[in-house]
Assembly symmetry: C2
Homo-oligomer: 391 residues x 2
C-alpha cells in the first residue's frame, strides 16, 4: 500500500538543570514536588532529531529510536500521543477540510547526535522532540507552554526542552497537572555568553534509575520535605533573579549548592542512592579550589543522576576553565570537535595540585564543549523514506 505521507521534523535540545527536579507528587502525571530551573544547551552539540509522519495506509503506530524499533504501548509515550491526537481532533472537527490525521497511524523516527552510552539524559530531548514534531505535523496552535505540559507527561524534565535559553518548570498546584509547565525565564540572546563543558565520567556500576531514585527519596528521606517546601522556593526566586540580572556569581553559587543538596537528599534516602563517584568528587574539589583561588565563581559544577559533571562558565573565563581542563585531561575525546580549542594553552593556576589530574585522566572519557542554545527548531532534514520507514 502507498499513498500520501504527511510529515514534519524538528530538533530539540538537551537541558541541564541548575535547580534540580527530584521527586514526584504524582508519578502518573509526572507532577514534581518542587519547581526547577535549567539551561538549554546548543543543538550543535547535543540534540534529538525527530520526524513524525502519518498516512492513511500505515497499519499501526510505530516508533524507532536511534535505529531500533521500540514499543508504542508505554504509558509515557501514550500519554503524550493521546493528548496530541485529541488536540488535532478538535481542529479537524472545527474544520472538516483538514486531512483526518488524527485517525491515521503514525510513524516516529528519532535520532540523537550524541552517543546514548555517554549517559546524558536523552529522554528530555527525546520527548520534547516527539511532542514538537507531532505538534508540527498536526499544525497545532498550542503555545510552547501548552506543549511543555504534554511533554512533561513523557519525561518530567522534557517540558524544559520546549524552550531555549533559561527555563523554569513551575511545579503548579492543580491535581490534574494543568498548571505544571515550563516557562522561559530569559532567552539565549538575553544572556548569550553562558558556556558549558560536560565531562563524561564512566560509572563503575549500573546506577539507580532516576525514576526509582527520586521516589526512594520522596518516601524515605527525612530532610527531603524541608528541601522542597522551604529551601527550593527561596532558591527558585534567587536563581530566576540572577538569570535576569546576568549575575553569574549568584547563579553559579546556587547551581553548585543545589546540585550538592540534590545528592545529599539522595544519600539521606533508604537505601541511600549514589550518583557521584570519586572522579565526580575530584571535579568538585578542583572547581571549588579554582573558585577559591580567583576569589569568585569562575565555573559552577552540577551533577545529574549519574557521575557526569557539567561545568557552567562565562565566555570571558574560557581561557581559565578550558586551560585548566586542557592541562588535566588533554587526551580525552571531544577537544577536536571545536576548532578554536586547539589554540587554548594548558594552564594550571598557582595553588592547584596537578596530582589529581592523573585520577581525572582515568575517570573522564570525553569532553563536550557547548553553551546555551535555542529551543526546538523545524528542520527539512527528514528521517523517513518514501514508504514511511526509517531511512
Amino acid at each position: 500500500m502507498t499513498g500520501k505521507i504527511y510529515s514534519a521534523s524538528t530538533t530539540a535540545p538537551v537541558n541541564i538543570a541548575t535547580l534540580k527536579y527530584w521527586g514526584k507528587r504524582d508519578t502518573k502525571l509526572n507532577l514534581p514536588t518542587n519547581s526547577s530551573i535549567s539551561v538549554t544547551l546548543s543543538q550543535d552539540d547535543l540534540r534529538t532529531l525527530t520526524t513524525a509522519c502519518a498516512a492513511e495506509f500505515f497499519e499501526s503506530d510505530k516508533l524507532w529510536l536511534n535505529g531500533k524499533e521500540e514499543s508504542v504501548h508505554g504509558p509515557r509515550f501514550l500519554a503524550c500521543f493521546n493528548e496530541l491526537r485529541a488536540l488535532r481532533k478538535i481542529r479537524e472537527d472545527a474544520n472538516p477540510e483538514l486531512p483526518a490525521l488524527s485517525k491515521y497511524h503514525m510513524h516516529i523516527v528519532s535520532e540523537n547526535n550524541f552517543p546514548t552510552a555517554a549517559g546524558l539524559a536523552s529522554s528530555a530531548a527525546g520527548f520534547a522532540a516527539f511532542v514538537q514534531a507531532v505538534a508540527n505535523l498536526y499544525e497545532l496552535p498550542q503555545s510552547p507552554e501548552e506543549l511543555s505540559r504534554i511533554a512533561r507527561q513523557g519525561s518530567g524534565s522534557a517540558c524544559r526542552s520546549l524552550f531555549g535559553g533559561y527555563v523554569a518548570w513551575e511545579m503548579g498546584q492543580e491535581a490534574d497537572g494543568s498548571d505544571s509547565r515550563a516557562v522561559q525565564i530569559a532567552t539565549q540572546e538575553a544572556w548569550p555568553d553562558m558556556k558549558a563543558a560536560i565531562l563524561v565520567i564512566s560509572a563503575s556500576k549500573k546506577e539507580t534509575s532516576s525514576t526509582v531514585g527520586m521516589q526512594t527519596t520522596v518516601n524515605t528521606s527525612t530532610l527531603f520535605k524541608y528541601r522542597t517546601d522551604v529551601v527550593v522556593p527561596q532558591r527558585f526566586k534567587e536563581m530566576s533573579e540572577a538569570i535576569v540580572n546576568k549575575d553569574f556569581e549568584t547563579f553559579g553559587k546556587l547551581t553548585m549548592i543545589d546540585s550538592n543538596q540534590f545528592h545529599a537528599v539522595c544519600l539521606d534516602s533508604s537505601p541511600p542512592v549514589f550518583y557521584m563517584n570519586d572522579t565526580s568528587r575530584l571535579v568538585i574539589g578542583l572547581i571549588e579550589k579554582v573558585n577559591k583561588i580567583y576569589g569568585r565563581v569562575v565555573a559552577a559544577y552540577t551533577f545529574d543522576a549519574g557521575p557526569n559533571s557539567v561545568l557552567y562558565y562565562l565566555e570571558k573565563d574560557e581561557l581559565i576553565v578550558l586551560g585548566l581542563l586542557k592541562a588535566a585531561i588533554p587526551d580525552v575525546d571531544g577537544w577536536d570537535k571545536k576548532s578554536y580549542t586547539s589554540s587554548i594553552a594548558p594552564a594550571v593556576p598557582d595553588g592547584v595540585d596537578p596530582c589529581s589530574f592523573e585520577v581525572l585522566k582515568e575517570g573522564v572519557s570525553r569532553i563536550i564543549l557547548t553553551g546555551v542554545g535555542p529551543g526546538p527548531r523545524k528542520t527539512d532534514e527528514v528521517l523517513i523514506d518514501g514508504n514511511g520507514l526509517p531511512k
Copy 2:
C-alpha cells in the same frame, strides 16, 4: 632532682557513634548542636593507656603521646587540666593532710594499642584516658558523668568514652555546658552480644578535619538545622528505646540512616565535605544487599569523618557477616588477631555479586574484629620510669 612520684594509670575505650555528633553550638566549650549515642568498643582491641604522675621535683608539665612529646599549651588540653587541678585543690583545701598535688607539675604518658595511621578517632579515647588518669591520681570523688563533662572540653566525643556499653551524650541547654555530659543508656552486660567489625579503608587524600568540617556544615548547610532540631530528637528517643529493648532491627536501621544523614549534611555544606569514597559506598551497597536478601537487618554500617566502615551485628549473625567478609577480603590484616575466626568459612549469600569483592580487596587494608566493651579501667601497667619519664 628526685623525690616521691605519685602516679595512676587507666585505660579508656574508643566509642563509635550510632547517632552522630556533628556541629557545635559553642566551639570553645565543645557544646554540640544535638545529642548523640554511641557504642563503647572492647579495650582488648582498641584502647588508650595513660599514666598520669605528679611530683614536687618536676620542673614543668609534660605530655607524651605514642612516644612523641607534645605541647601542653593547647587550649583543649588546658581546659581539662585546669578544671581537674581546681577540683583537686578543693580537696586539698578541705584536707590539709593531702599531698599538694595540685601545685605539682604533671607528666602524662599515653599510648594506643592500635596504629594512629588507621584513621580511627583516637582523640575520644585519648582525652577520656587523660581525664580518668588524672582523676585517679587526684583521687577525685566526681562521678563518671562529672568527668565526662570535663573530657568533653578536650574532644566532644571523648565524654562518651567515660562509660562502657551504650552511651548517650546529652547535649544540654546551659550556656556554660554544665548539663552537656554523657550518661549510660545500658551496660555492656545488659546487651553483651553486640559485635563490631571495622574495615580500615585508605583515604586517597587528606580529609577535612572534623572540627573544620562540622563548622562548615553548621555555617552553610540549609538542611542541617532541620536535622538537629527535628530529626535527631526523635531518633535519639527511638534509638535509646531500641538499646534498652535490645531491638537490633530498629537500632541497626537508625544507625544506617543516621550515618547517611550525617554524610548528607556534609555534602549539603559549602564547600561540600566528603568523607566516604567509592570503597565506602561499595560496603554500603553490600550490606544493604545482604539485609535485603535476609529480609532483616543482619548488619548495620556506620561511617565517621573518614572512609572507614564500622559494621555492627549480633553474635548470632557472626557466621553470616564474617563469612561474607572472609569471602570478600580474606587477605587483609586482622583476621589472625582472633583465634576463632580461622574456623569461619567464606560464605556468599545467593544474590550477592562477588564482582564487587575485587574492588573491596583493593580498598580495604585491615579488619578489626571487636564488640561492645566496658568503660575506663584502672591498671597497674605504668608507662613512666623512676624518674617520671616515659619508659
